[in-house]
Assembly symmetry: C2
Homo-oligomer: 251 residues x 2
C-alpha cells in the first residue's frame, strides 16, 4: 500500500492514491455549498471518489445519514477506509454501484424518492474534448466516459423526494447544457454561485442548487473567489479548508 498518502483537510483525514484521482478545491467548495436544516436527514454523494465531499457533509451536519456511491472498486476501497478513519461508520456507508441504475426497481442501493438531498462532483468535460489524462482511474473520474449528464440527472430525479435538493459543481462552459438537463428531469435550478480563481478573472466553476419539482426562480449569489492576488486563499475559502490544505490538486 505504499502508493497511498494520508492527507488532511479541515476536520478530516483522507487516504488518497498517488497519481490517481485526488480531491481538489472544487470538492471543498461543493461540500460547503449546501445549507441543511434538521429536516434534511437522508443524503447521497454520487461520484464519491475517495469520499471527501460526503465526509465533509457528514461532519458539517451531524444529524445526516449518508450513502457514498462510487463505481470504481479502487476508489470505493479508499472511501470505505476513509469512513472508518474518520469514525463515521455509524452514519456513512459506501455503495459500489453504477449511478445509471440508482432508483430503478432492480437496484437495492437507494430506494426511489427516498432522499432529501444529493451532492455530486461529476466528470467535467464532454467526451472527445480536453486532454485525457493518461491514468485510467483519473480519466474515468474526470471525463464523461462512464456517466453522461442526462443519465446522471435521470438518476437524481429517481432517488430524490419531491422537493428534494441537488447540489452540483460543474464547468461554466457547459452551464446551458447542465440547466437544460436538470429541467428536462424536473429539477429546477434555484441557486447558483460562480467560482472565479481571482477577482477580474473569468469563472472556472459553478455551484448549482436544484429542487425537484421547484418553481422557476433562480438566485445568482455573489461570486466566490478562491485566491487573493498574492496567491493565498481568500478568507472565505481558508475558512472552508479549516487550516492549511495538504494533498489537494490546484484549481
Amino acid at each position: 500500500m505504499d502508493d497511498i498518502t494520508l492527507d488532511s483537510i479541515g476536520p478530516l483525514r483522507l487516504y488518497q492514491r498517488k497519481g490517481g484521482y485526488r480531491f481538489s478545491v472544487d470538492a471543498v467548495l461543493l461540500a460547503h455549498f449546501p445549507v441543511f436544516s434538521r429536516k434534511t436527514r437522508h443524503v447521497a454523494d454520487l461520484c464519491a471518489g475517495s469520499g471527501v465531499v460526503g465526509l465533509l457533509i457528514a461532519k458539517r451536519f451531524p444529524w445526516t445519514e449518508l450513502v457514498l456511491v462510487e463505481l470504481q472498486e479502487s476508489l470505493a476501497e479508499l472511501a470505505r477506509r476513509n469512513i472508518v478513519l474518520n469514525g463515521l461508520e455509524e452514519r456513512v456507508s459506501l455503495s459500489r454501484a453504477d449511478i445509471r441504475e440508482l432508483g430503478k426497481g432492480t437496484s437495492p442501493v437507494i430506494s426511489p424518492g427516498s432522499l432529501d438531498a444529493v451532492t455530486v462532483n461529476p466528470p467535467f468535460r464532454p467526451l472527445n474534448t480536453g486532454r485525457i489524462s493518461p491514468t485510467g482511474e483519473r480519466a474515468i473520474a474526470r471525463h464523461e466516459i462512464a456517466l453522461r449528464l442526462d443519465d446522471l440527472m435521470g438518476a437524481v430525479k429517481r432517488i430524490l423526494k419531491n422537493g428534494g435538493r441537488l447540489y452540483i459543481i460543474y464547468h461554466p462552459s457547459r452551464l446551458s447544457e447542465l440547466t437544460e438537463s436538470m429541467r428536462r428531469e424536473g429539477i429546477e435550478p434555484k441557486r447558483m454561485r460562480f467560482v472565479h480563481p481571482r477577482e477580474g478573472e473569468s469563472s472556472t466553476m459553478v455551484l448549482v442548487e436544484g429542487m425537484k419539482g421547484g418553481g422557476v426562480e433562480l438566485a445568482v449569489e455573489p461570486p466566490l473567489y478562491v485566491y487573493r492576488n498574492d496567491g493565498s486563499y481568500t478568507s472565505e475559502v481558508e475558512e472552508m479548508l479549516g487550516g492549511p490544505l495538504q494533498g489537494a490538486n490546484p484549481v
Copy 2:
C-alpha cells in the same frame, strides 16, 4: 410637449417622457457589452424605447448602420427625434413594427438573415408576477405583455445571419428560461456577465451574448459591479456613463 425632458448621457442627448418609460443603467450596460469588429455593419436594436441603446451603439461603432425597432408610437416618436437630435439620421433609422413579424415574408422592415448583430433590452418580468406599473407605456415596456420570450427569439433567429450575434440583458431569476429559449432557436449562449449592485450582493441583471449556429462553449466573465459601497458608481460604470448620469432611473 411640456411632458418631455431633455437628459444627457455620455456623448448623447436624449428626449424622454416624464412619467413614461425612462432608460436605466441597464441600457447603458447593454450598450457597452458588445465588442464589434469592422465586419459588424448591420445591426438592429429591438424594443428600442426612446433609442438609448441603439444610439450609444451607433456612437461607439461609427461604421455601423442601425435600425431601431419600436412598436409603441409614443416611444417611436421620441426615438425619431433623438436620432436627429444626435445627428445620426444618416446611419440610424426607426421602424415602428411588431417584433413578432420581423423577418417574415410579409414584413418589409428587416430582411431575413441580413443582420450581423441584434441588441435587445426586453421586458423583464413574466406575466402575472411583479408589480405592474400604473402607466400603460411603462407597463408594456417593462412586462412581457406585448412580447413573449419565445416570440422574441424566433424573430432574432430569422433576422440574424448565420454566425450573427445577439446581445441581451435579462433578469437572472429567469436565466434558465432565457438560455433554453435561445438554444431552441439555435442561438447558442457564448458569453455571460452577471451584474451585481455591489460587492457581496446577489446578481440583479445578466448580460448574455449568443451566436446563431454557434457551438457549445460558454464563457462567464468577471462580475460587473454597479456601485461602490459608498453609493457612487464604480469606475467601470462611470466610464461607460462618460460623465454624471442625468435622468436615469436607479438600478
